[in-house]
Symmetry: C2
Subunit: 253 residues, 2 copies
DNA sequence: AGCTTATGGTCTTATTTCATACCAATACCC
DNA sequence: GGGTATTGGTATGAAATAAGACCATAAGCT
């Protein structure tokens, strides 16, 4: 509607850098915290290591950490065996949330609907090492036993774990990315906790299918599971979007 | 094998910035040229615009352009109606190609096998505007009529075009990205031109399926099409990888 | 011919980011 | 209790990048 300067839809001229390194480092750290990669109460890697991991100078990293500290996401302790710790209570009212953008919601949900079922299917097809099995089961157990206020990070971590064992690093990255966007969207709407049990049952189904190598069932189970989030977000948009058809990315027959 | 420090497979700590802005700008421009986004002989946007599009200062952009010019990818003309033009003959022997990394090949092909069929399926399910139809058909025609030495960019452009009309910008970005990696891989092996006709027939099939709204057929056709590239690359790796099963990411029924 | 104008070419300055070295604290170890 | 090693805290100079002004060129226009 707003823009149809097609002919050359120019999608790929995305910026080389998004903002400055400082802001992007904050973003990245926050993303990892929200994704549950850094569990609550755990210690982040030492500044020198973390800076190298993020490909950023220690000065820049420290600026970012200072910001996170000021916002109450992490606490810092000096001296040997000190470090930066993830606060257990993420700051509640983090200010005014931006509105949900319908186009963005659609985009994220669509992309997720492509990636995650495929990841589950690939994971089922792959022969998993014992370590990978353990990783998956651990993530499953953690989300199942998570208290309500920590559910989302654990949930995110679980979904990323599936992609991690799917065997394609690129896919895992993409899933982590889109999942983090989903978390962002969910953070903008009040936390109604409709049916964690249902969700956990679906998680179990996905893992079961993966472990018994049933790629078809894993694909389907993942797809079903995403429906919940999709409905929730679409519901909040008011306009009752046509729900994703049950076979969104897969051919029927 | 080499690394199993699992327990926390730490996939998501990717660097915030990859190298410096200068190198990344070169990379991005080269990618767009190879993807055929800037057709041969066409004029790039003016430096001031291009710099803004890429989110980079004009100085940095100019450094990058100078490098591309030195390497023979573009030519520059001053004065009004001047500009930076894409050379028709990309420099041939661009030096020693790095070896094909089997893990990378697998990763890219797997990820592509997830994205592109899904994109085709989504495109078929979407109701395309006349402009989008035109865009798709134009891309199809261009690749079909491309001379051998320009086949790959046009081919890449076509595949990206499918993703563009699929309705998810994120998906389009991801496809462009992975397709660019495929091009990189293909550039490292001698150009045997086995069966352009076959490839073009498959392109036609995909578009037909999309235009008549048959998502199932579109998915399948795209999947079949990717098999060719996969076999080619796997063949060059020597070890006859188990080929992607025909129903790689989709359940049957 | 001369003017206009959009473009690449050059220069200067401010800001960001990096790299490095060094200081300060503090829990463990002997 | 004192040593030690690891960690966050601080400072400084170099390099990269950005932002902006201005010059040079050359095609079109009058």
């Amino acid at each position: 509607m707003e823009e149809e300067l097609l002919g050359s839809p120019a999608p790929i001229l995305r910026p080389v850098r998004h903002g400055n390194a400082f802001e992007e480092t904050i973003e990245r750290l926050l993303q990892n915290i929200k994704l549950g990669l850094f569990g609550v109460g755990t210690k982040l890697p030492a500044e020198r290591e973390l800076a190298e991991m993020l490909g950023v100078s220690r000065a820049t990293l420290r600026d970012a950490l200072a910001e996170l500290q000021k916002a109450g996401y992490v606490e810092v302790q000096r001296g040997r065996y000190g470090g930066t710790y993830v606060c257990s209570r993420p700051p509640a009212g983090s200010g005014s949330y931006p509105e949900l953008d319908p186009a963005e919601v659609d985009d994220v949900l669509t992309f997720r609907g492509v990636l995650e079922p495929a990841a589950a299917s690939l994971a089922a097809r792959a022969t998993l090492s014992p370590a990978q099995r353990g990783h998956l089961l651990r993530a499953l157990a953690e989300v199942a036993s998570a208290p309500a206020n920590l559910y989302r990070p654990k949930d995110a971590r679980f979904h990323v774990a599936i992609a991690e064992v799917a065997g394609s690093p690129s896919l895992a990255l993409a899933v982590a990315d889109v999942r983090s966007k989903v978390s962002d969207l969910l953070d903008r709407i009040p936390l109604i906790q409709p049916n964690l049990e249902h969700s956990n049952r679906q998680h179990q189904e996905i893992v079961d299918a993966i472990l018994r190598g049933d790629d078809e069932a894993a694909f389907k189970a993942a797809q079903d599971h995403l429906q919940g989030t999709a409905s929730l977000l679409h519901g909040f948009l008011g306009h009752s979007q046509p729900e994703v058809s049950p076979q969104s990315t897969a051919p029927q027959r």
